[in-house]
Symmetry: C2
Subunit: 270 residues, 2 copies
């Protein structure tokens, strides 16, 4: 048994979709969340900058006595995780491995689509991991750089012509290539689930990278007997920009009321 | 005569539209440009964060021996300029005053529209300045938070349904309210000029805040005899993220080839 909290971080609010999944599976665990809202988005940035920001995020979370970190940011998971794992001597779980494994299990026709930020797609990480699992699978990757901005602006609902136009723009090719499984490789994308699912059609299984990573870390902690049996501290949320903006939008991602205090952090000090 | 360069900064690449206008008017002046591409966009961020970032931008430019700074960022101009002017003992010109003056001179029916980032609109700066010039004018302000991301992703051309949809979304109300003058209060927006102009129609005068500020600073330096008669050093460009990305896109904003070296800066050290 280990009563210490789990650290979770993301470039902004997207990682809260993973917190939602984590809390569903492990309601007793305390979570310390950091959202780098003062520097979001990470997806269009260069590798050096992403590594620098992600290191500061981890350094901040490590000021708490945490037992593990969930890297709930697709961009950091694809671009900086190996570097972070070399630097830090603690369990750091990204979203690529578990989502890739789920996609490889799910596909029937052997054609998997992956959508993510520009940096994630440029890294080739999903394709690499899926091919390590099964080299015979076809992986088609597509960067969707405007999904994060529209989601952050609340424009993700069915019936809104903006997300419908962009989903059509970005996904028409994947649909034509007949993928039967689509990995949502960025933790912002689950908010677009309905629009994407409608466009791709019933035959296509969507895989949420945040949900799969939450599932994985839950199993991992259970196996190592590192779970707690009772919630010993409330969740705590930290951001690098306005706490009011975070409070206003967090419940949209969590699909429930925000359940902890929010504080602002000067992240470039870490 | 003053041969020192002029400093120009923006959250990212938008400020290059002001550099373009400045160079047109003052071809002999050397320019030191800083684009905070590692932390762009500024528009959705809180005031504290914008002031912090803008101070670091000015601190960096002041490591050069410059004679003046053009704040070629609408968000900083509306949100942080008064604070910066209190801190620094040097000429700092933003984009609000000159664009407001131009709009007040241009309007015939007394109805002016202003479009800008969320932070700029929240500040009420344009409305305040225009009403100082002429309290009888009607000013209608509208935040267009997705214009910067679509421009940064190259989606600003006529015939592209995405900018056309967003221009319609954001500007329908302003059009219905019969403004005859529209201030583009963010230096990214001139790239959307054709789409906006087509939608608003021939009777509406567009005012580019970057161009007006360039005009203003040129007149100001001339009046104080601070111009140079010969270009003594090439322009220099600095960014806080990948220099390659900057090189790739800069000419789109400048409407000419990039005319100087580009270097990366660790901006949070300033």
């Amino acid at each position: 048994m280990d009563r210490r909290p789990i650290g979770v971080f993301d470039s902004g609010l997207g990682g809260l979709t993973a917190v939602r999944e984590l809390t569903k599976r492990l309601p007793n665990e305390s979570i310390i969340y950091f959202g780098d809202t003062g520097r979001v988005p990470y997806g269009p940035r260069g590798r050096d900058v992403i590594i620098k920001y992600a290191s500061q995020d981890v350094n901040f979370l490590r000021t708490f006595d945490i037992k593990a970190i969930l890297v709930a940011c697709g961009t950091v998971s694809t671009t900086a995780l190996d570097t972070l794992q070399q630097i830090y001597d603690m369990p750091l779980t990204g979203v690529v491995e578990s989502a890739s494994a789920k996609a490889a299990r799910s596909t029937k026709n052997g054609r998997i689509g992956v959508i993510a930020t520009s940096a994630s797609i440029a890294s080739g990480a999903y394709s690499r991991v899926i091919h390590t699992i099964d080299p015979s699978l076809t992986v088609i990757e597509k960067a969707c750089p405007l999904f994060v901005p529209i989601v952050e602006n609340g424009r993700f609902s069915k019936g809104d012509p903006l997300p419908e136009l962009l989903v059509r723009d970005y996904l028409t090719e994947l649909k034509a290539l007949d993928v039967d499984t689509l990995v949502l490789g960025c933790t912002h994308y689950p908010l677009l689930w309905d629009v994407i699912s409608d466009f791709m059609g019933e035959g296509v299984t969507l895989v949420s990278s945040g949900a799969e990573a939450a599932e994985y870390i839950a199993a991992e902690l259970q196996e190592k007997d590192l779970l707690t049996d009772t919630k010993s501290a409330p969740n705590r949320y930290y951001v690098s920009d306005s706490t009011e903006t975070f409070r206003k939008f967090a419940s949209m991602y969590l699909q429930r009321d925000l359940d902890g205090d929010v504080e602002k952090v000067d992240i470039d000090k870490y």
